[in-house]
């Protein structure tokens, strides 16, 4: 009987057993939640205050869709997407790699009746959850600072949840390919840093040459910013369908690829 490994690209087989894996991560995190939360939100808020108020005084107002908005609002709506990206990426790279490769937590889990697909899905959901938790805390601080009072922030919260899913999934692709932590430096310097500057977080995309803009509009972070920024300005995004579909496509494609590459890694 021939029973060779089936294709790693077969559809995901996710069962309810992903939940105890998610819960495991939650329980570990609960032990050090407060210091970790402070660490996670302090940095983005320092950036926001320093750049928003400091640069904001120089820049004044920024034109968005023909409307002038204070620079701090412009920056806050972009940087919160960046925070979602960073929090999800760190968790799904360094922390997931520790569990997968260093601590062998995944191996232990898979000796129980839990499949690799469940584990990968749980890691994705966990990184997305942690990102959303961080983002929620930052949003609350922004509300406290009076940067935006738009009721549409609730819609932004859902977009940011999706943003966490997208970047967790992308990061898990690199997790599946990594031989050591050093590998993640490439991901940060070659992928995340350029994306940060090409996604309209710090300055409007329109400032860039047309050719660069054309590429930048396909970046996941740029699409998230395109959806979240109008909501911060208490407006519904004019063209929401294309960025929403782009983000959804990134989430599905990246998760599938992450799963396939992780299966390949574990089949060896």
């Amino acid at each position: 009987m021939k029973t060779a490994d089936p294709s790693p690209w077969r559809p995901p087989a996710i069962t309810a057993r992903w939940w105890p894996v998610f819960l495991r991560n939650l329980l570990v995190w609960r032990k050090l939640a407060l210091p970790s939360l402070i660490g996670n939100i302090a940095e983005p808020l320092i950036w926001l205050v320093a750049f928003g108020y400091g640069m904001g005084a120089l820049v004044g107002q920024v034109q968005v869709d023909g409307r002038a908005v204070p620079y701090i609002l412009f920056l806050a709506s972009g940087s919160i997407c960046m925070s979602a990206m960073n929090a999800a990426s760190f968790e799904a790279l360094y922390s997931a790699f520790s569990r997968m490769h260093v601590q062998k937590t995944w191996d232990g889990i898979m000796n129980a009746p839990v499949g690799l697909d469940d584990v990968v899905f749980a890691e994705m959901a966990w990184a997305a959850f942690k990102s959303l938790f961080t983002v929620t805390a930052i949003l609350l601080v922004m509300l406290g600072l009076g940067i935006s009072h738009s009721p549409k922030l609730l819609a932004a919260w859902f977009i940011l949840a999706g943003c966490g899913i997208v970047f967790s999934s992308i990061a898990l692709i690199f997790n599946a390919l990594a031989k050591s932590y050093d590998f993640f430096t490439y991901y940060f310097t070659l992928f995340m840093t350029p994306m940060m500057f090409l996604s309209g977080v710090f300055f409007p995309l329109e400032q860039l040459p047309d050719a660069v803009q054309a590429v930048a509009r396909w970046l996941p972070l740029a699409n998230a910013v395109a959806l979240v920024r109008p909501l911060f300005m208490d407006q519904w995004p004019a063209a929401w369908l294309q960025p929403a579909l782009t983000l959804a496509a990134y989430a599905v494609a990246a998760f599938w690829a992450a799963l396939a590459l992780t299966r390949r890694r574990f089949a060896a």
């Binding site: 029973t3 060779a4 062998k104 232990g108 000796n111 009746p113």
Partner: protein, 309 residues
Amino acid sequence: MPSAPLLQARHLFKRYGDTTVVDDLSFEIAPGECLGVIGPNGAGKTTTIRMCLGLTAPDAGEIVAMDGLAMPRDARAIKAQLGVVSQFDSLDPDFSCAENLVVYARYFGFSRRAFAPKVPQLLDFAALSHKADAKPGELSGGMRRRLSLARALVNDPKLLLLDEPTTGLDPQARHLMWERLQTLLQQGKSILLTTHFMDEAERLCSRLLVIDHGRKIAEGRPRELIAEHLEPDVVEVYGNGALALAASPLRQFAARVEVSGETVFFYTQDARRLLDALAAHGGLRIFHRPANLEDLFLKLTGRQIREDG
């Protein structure tokens, strides 16, 4: 009627690139039996266990377990009835011993509430009651292995797969582990055990599988294997002029003579006459003992060091 095997592997093959790691391997484990798998490093032991767990699929062959379930198709149903201690600890460093058990039980579908009463029993079994709140990092190697064993018992499995459960332990910790495994066997559990310790294999296993280069080279009860493959006595000789004896007329008293380093091994049916003859040679150090599993292992797999050994 003999009961059906708990796990049956038939004609397993596994290749990585050009290397055949498991080569037409068949074996089965009966209820209540302890099957030992011994073989040099790289013989295919861990790969075989990984196939039994559905973590890697065989290139050919099949594994049937627990009344007609097939691996990897029914991996979850089979693993629900298995307990596993892998070669390297995968305990959660952030959880206490008690939490490690509760969290692991959840992977089998047991809620904290349902499982809580079993935690003290399992910790007691692992002789870790006094360490319930300690984290794995605060435990000795032996304690960590026993916690891994307790963790493998959360689902009250029928069959335990243990990959080198006592490697790296001191004699006290090893004996405690053996004691616990014997208790489990008395309770009717079955065990598949890989090991490098021949005394461990001889003490615990009712049957042994010797594999090398992925192939089964011997199978049977430890004592019977020794009787079948070896002469009953071994006389080890080293010291001045020992090596010359290997080619001397003394040979006639031994069925087989082997030289390794500075030592000559005489495998003999007639140790008395050999020892009398050796007495005539001065300056030798002589060690006479019954043939054991280690001799068998070395005879079957050779004395040379393996690449990753």
